[in-house]
């Protein structure tokens, strides 16, 4: 289907036969795609069908209310003038009380939406969507409205609920972790186009572009392969495990890279890259250190022990066998 937006036209072909995640940067057209599927926006052209029934096509445009999609909005869109059970019972085809109990929020039935926490609201929104017995469940950034502390817990619960309900789902997210938790099939969208689709592991293992690699959180270094070495534009050589030729990208996972203050001796690692630390960010028990265009992942303890902070010169090392080489479609650069 196609749909023109401000700067580009969404032109996406999707097939949803497994829980699917639509991922990409802000403004990539993910949420718009979801609204097109639901019928809240009308495509300029194209076709949408579900379970063999055409929702949109030449001369066909089934109105939203007859498509039977469950839609969980980013800020949940709970009716403020109704209590929880009133929200869930609005057009319910299933017993609202039972659904609340299944989602573990039976005790909130009489509560007003404004008195709920973010995680509770999300579950009410999910309960309300499931109460209509939808043929397709669409979730627009279901975790974005939550604070980071509760997000991973709620994500795990949500993943469990989605697995139990067996309703086909399309989840929009901009996080690779969330995508892999909530879906089997991950579709990467940029500028309204599908850039790559596959399982989370496939995207991580062989990203089709720097964009997908960045998204999956794997280092992507463009260069020219000549047998077991890859020449980078700045003259650096990278030793790789698999011989190749021509324009390639070298992939290294951040956790394969070790950091030291001086070039290590007596190591099997063949690749060393020296440079000043550009950025350090700590998330839980992982610290990500940016050096020479690469991201290395170490423990916060190592950071402290080595005194690593922005500006300090470090050496990033990794083994040739930790690298993977994928061909580059974009040719040069």
């Amino acid at each position: 289907m196609t749909f023109p937006v401000r700067d580009f036209t969404i032109d996406a072909a999707l097939e949803v036969d497994a829980p699917t995640a639509l991922v990409g940067p802000s403004g990539a057209g993910k949420s718009t795609t979801l609204r097109l599927i639901a019928g809240l926006l009308r495509p300029a052209s194209g076709e949408i069908s579900c379970n063999g029934r055409t929702w949109f096509g030449p001369g066909v445009d089934v109105p939203v209310e007859r498509r039977r999609v469950g839609f969980v909005f980013q800020d949940y869109a709970l009716f403020p003038h109704r209590n929880v059970i009133g929200n869930v019972a609005f057009e319910a085809r299933r017993d609202p009380d039972e659904i609340l109990r299944q989602l573990g929020i039976g005790h909130l039935a009489r509560a007003r939406p404004r008195d709920l926490s973010g995680g509770e609201r999300q579950r009410v929104a999910l309960a309300r969507a499931l109460a209509t017995d939808p043929q397709l469940l669409l979730l627009d950034e279901p975790l974005a409205a939550l604070d980071p502390g509760t997000r991973s817990g709620v994500a795990a619960e949500l993943a469990g609920v989605l697995e139990r309900t067996r309703v086909p789902t399309v989840t929009v997210t901009h996080s690779y972790e969330e995508a892999t938790m909530l879906a089997e099939h991950v579709v990467v969208i940029d500028q309204g186009r599908v850039v790559q689709a596959g399982t989370g592991a496939e995207l991580l293992h062989s990203p089709a572009s720097r964009f997908v690699a960045d998204f999956a959180g794997v280092n992507y270094v463009a260069g020219y392969a000549d047998g077991p070495v890859v020449h980078l534009p700045d003259g650096t050589l990278i030793h790789v495990g698999d011989a190749a030729a021509g324009p390639v990208a070298v992939l290294v996972a951040p956790w394969e890279i070790t950091l030291g203050l001086t070039p290590p001796t007596g190591t099997s690692a063949m690749n060393h890259l020296q440079g000043p630390v550009e950025r350090v960010s700590v998330q839980g028990n992982r610290a990500r250190v940016r050096v020479g265009g690469l991201t290395a992942e170490v423990t916060p303890g190592s950071l402290e022990r080595l005194g690593i902070r922005p500006g300090v010169s470090v050496v990033a090392s990794w083994k040739a066998t930790s690298t993977r080489v994928v061909p580059r479609a974009d040719g040069r650069r």
């Binding site: 498509r67 909005f73 869109a77 403020p80 404004r114 969507a129």
Partner: protein, 216 residues
């Protein structure tokens, strides 16, 4: 007399104005600006001009008046004419306020209702109207107050037949003109009291509802 006609006028505004305002606020269509301007025109017209306009349209020799007359319907100088004059002049006040109230309702709430399977009327009656309620109430109160005070258009189009088309403001004016200042003052004071009480009541109701719906 005034209570009945202004009540009928308010009912007409609510029944026809509310769905129209909702439609204008939530959908985009060609000629929307022109239509809105047309609806707002009576706001800027001197009421006497509005009365002349109504008379030109529905008077015995008017554009539609002749045809209505053939059907045995005569509007000028009847209670219906009073209601028409009031609605014509005060309606736009309600329409404007209602439109703004509907525009302020979160569009995702309306979208959510539709994805759940609610048809347009259910979305309108069970989501949009309750959420726009306080604003609709305020608009209705303003419009009603304006209808009660309506003078110019009424006297032009409906005249001043005692017991039929003589509204309180017109009676006040006539008493004053006939030199009975005391009666005019008493009528005026009664008008002020009734309007004040109604406005205050509406405000209190709106505040109660607004507190209940206050976001977080």
């Amino acid at each position: 007399m005034t209570a009945e006609t202004s009540g009928a006028s308010l009912a007409a505004m609510l029944i026809f104005g509310t769905p129209v305002a909702y439609r204008i606020a939530t959908t985009a269509f060609r000629g929307k600006t022109v239509l809105v301007t047309l609806f707002e025109l009576p706001l800027v017209l001197p009421p006497a001009v509005a009365g002349i306009g109504l008379f030109a349209a529905f008077g015995r020799t008017g554009l539609l008046g002749g045809r209505l007359g053939a059907l045995g319907i005569e509007l000028p100088f009847t209670a219906a004419a009073v209601v028409m004059a009031m609605t014509f002049v005060a309606g736009p006040l309600y329409l404007r306020q209602a439109q703004a109230s509907f525009a302020a309702v979160d569009r995702d709430l309306l979208a959510a209702a539709r994805t759940l399977g609610a048809g347009p009327w259910k979305v309108f009656l069970q989501v949009a109207v309750p959420l726009a309620g306080p604003g609709l109430g305020a608009g209705a109160a303003l419009a009603w107050a304006r209808a009660v005070g309506e003078f110019g258009a009424t006297i032009m189009f409906a005249g001043s037949l005692e017991g039929v088309t003589q509204t309180a403001p017109i009676a006040t004016y006539l008493q004053f003109e006939q030199g009975d200042f005391g009666a005019a003052l008493a009528l005026g004071a009664a008008l002020i009291a009734v309007s004040g009480v109604v406005l205050l009541a509406v405000k209190l109701i709106i505040r109660g509802r607004a507190l209940r719906f206050a976001p977080m």
